[in-house]
């Protein structure tokens, strides 16, 4: 689809979003809840981090707010196995 000037789309970002998801890094989380508190769609990110599971929730829009807000760099984007980048 051609890019329209009035609707700027970062293609690189979109490609990455399709192939990535938010993951916690083991051993860093102290359950402060800043991630869940700031999630614009209400995903309980902290619950995933506690169990050390990648965020797999239909409400996750991969906006990266939790990644950016976490004060301990617990969360990062990681590739989904088998996804085509």
């Amino acid at each position: 689809m051609p890019r329209k000037k009035h609707l700027p789309v970062d293609q690189e970002r979109l490609a990455l979003l399709r192939s990535a998801r938010v993951e916690p890094v083991a051993g860093r989380c102290v359950q402060c809840g800043l991630c869940s508190y700031n999630c614009p769609t209400g995903v309980d990110v902290r619950g995933y981090a506690r169990r050390c599971l990648a965020i797999d929730d239909p409400r996750c829009i991969k906006c990266g707010t939790c990644v950016a807000r976490c004060p301990r760099a617990v969360l990062c984007f990681g590739p989904i196995a088998g996804a085509i980048a």
Partner: protein
């Protein structure tokens, strides 16, 4: 039906309760604590102080999750333990009999000893009630003084300043947190504090606190200055709350000495969390960790053993992540360390293992905003301090935990410290090619 009595309500006690319930649906679990509210994230208190999260957000389990544990909670102080009789007496006289006991009483902050330390307005931060009280005071306070070291002192200083209180941080020595950080790392944190508006006073200590009608009004300092203030926040270290164990003649050193199943010297009595002193085979000595993840794991192991599932505690490499100034900082393993006049003991979020006695060489890479320091010996990386970009946290944690042999890159690390990051990343990929580069999506996707 086995009766488990857990003393404490922090993450160690909660993890133990969850572990017990996961293997024994019928067990009776009684939790005794002087805190009676929801289970909360103690490290999260820093963000509550700074105004980043409301208090309700700090609850770490939903009501349904807590309900499923079927705990009998008693809001009381455990007064006296009779290990031979398997009895615990509570303040007020009630006596509980147990089959298995867990002591997870945590650590409490040390009171300052300057004259006037008992004035209204001299505060410490141990639990959520302290945080609430502090926030109530902040509304009236104009000027605050912070003394101490480690992350708690810093969080207090930043939190107070963020709440609009003019904050003065007194350091007894020349720099911040000398026990763990090197001079340049201290300087980075100090400049972050200055940017946040905190006024730093070096080689400064409180000679006495002055008040009227029992209420704090000012402090006299060692350089003969008098500073008017309404609040002094003290974070000079914490001590494990060992009284219950010591009075019952359990084996107590700095903390309650525990074996590899988290068992104490008394029959059927276990300890976990900040109060426990666990043996580290790698270090060859028992150490205190005041770390969230260590407390959670110790609680889990203790709980399983209490429920009859034999489980061994493997001490992980000591790791903590904190926001120091405006830099995310990860401290892993043994990083050297110097004397620190600001701290009487260990602080919260610290490990005794960080200031190991090992002889090593420090290598540093530093650019505009990020800094990596690794502490190495002839064969392995012993510890690291990573400030700013955290891409190397995961590889370095692995290298340090596994004592990975770095002989093949040692020379390159020493000769080209400016290429430290790329050398380590390359080494990581060569060892674990199936791993994606740690967080390499991070910088491109984070908002």
């Amino acid at each position: 039906m086995r009766h488990h009595v857990l003393v404490g309500s922090g993450i160690a006690a909660l993890s133990a309760a969850e572990a017990i319930r996961s293997v024994d649906a019928a067990a009776r679990i009684t939790l005794v604590s002087d805190e009676s509210g929801p289970f909360y994230s103690r490290p999260g208190l820093a963000y509550l102080l700074a105004g980043a999260v409301p208090e309700r957000q700090l609850a770490i389990r939903s009501k349904a999750e807590v309900g499923a544990l079927r705990l009998e909670r008693i809001a009381a102080r455990a007064d006296r333990l009779f290990p031979e009789r398997h009895e615990l007496r509570l303040a007020g006289g009630r006596v509980l009999s147990y089959d298995r006991l867990l002591i997870a009483t945590g650590a409490s902050s040390i009171a300052p000893d300057f004259p006037g330390a008992d004035l209204d307005g001299v505060v410490r931060l141990d639990g959520v009630e302290d945080a609430r009280a502090l926030l109530a005071r902040v509304r009236k306070a104009k000027v605050a003084v912070v003394v101490g070291g480690g992350s708690t002192a810093l969080e207090l200083a930043e939190g107070l300043q963020a709440r609009g209180v003019e904050t003065h941080y007194f350091l007894r020595g020349d720099r911040y947190w000398a026990r763990v950080l090197d001079e340049e790392e201290s300087a980075l944190v100090e400049s972050g504090l200055a940017r946040a508006g905190v006024t730093l006073h070096r080689r400064t200590e409180i000679v006495r606190a002055l008040g009227r009608n029992g209420r704090l009004e000012a402090v006299d300092t060692n350089d003969a200055a008098c500073l008017h203030c309404q609040l002094i926040a003290v974070a000079i270290g914490v001590r494990p709350r060992v009284d219950l164990a010591r009075n019952a003649s359990l084996d107590v050193d700095r903390g309650i000495v525990v074996g590899e199943r988290m068992e104490t010297s008394a029959p059927d009595a276990f300890a976990a969390g900040d109060v426990a002193q666990a043996f580290d085979p790698a270090l060859g000595r028992a150490v205190l960790d005041t770390l969230w993840s260590a407390a959670a794991e110790q609680g889990r192991v203790a709980g399983l053993n209490m429920a009859g599932v034999a489980t061994t505690y493997h001490r992980h490499v000591a790791l903590n992540v904190t926001q120091l100034g405006d830099l995310i900082t990860t401290v892993i393993g043994d990083v050297g360390g110097a004397d620190d006049p600001d701290l009487v003991t260990i602080t919260r979020g610290q490990s005794e293992a960080w200031a190991g006695a090992s002889v090593g060489t420090s290598l540093v890479r530093h650019d505009a905003s990020d800094r990596i320091r690794i502490h190495i010996n002839g064969r392995a990386i012993l510890g690291a301090v990573i400030m700013g970009d955290q891409a190397l946290s995961v590889p370095l944690t692995r290298f340090i935990a596994d004592r990975v042999d770095i002989t093949s890159i040692r020379q390159a690390l020493i000769e080209r410290p400016e290429a430290l990051a790329s050398t380590l990343l390359e080494f990581w990929r060569s060892r674990e090619p199936w791993q994606h580069a740690p967080c390499d999506h991070h910088s491109r996707l984070a908002v």
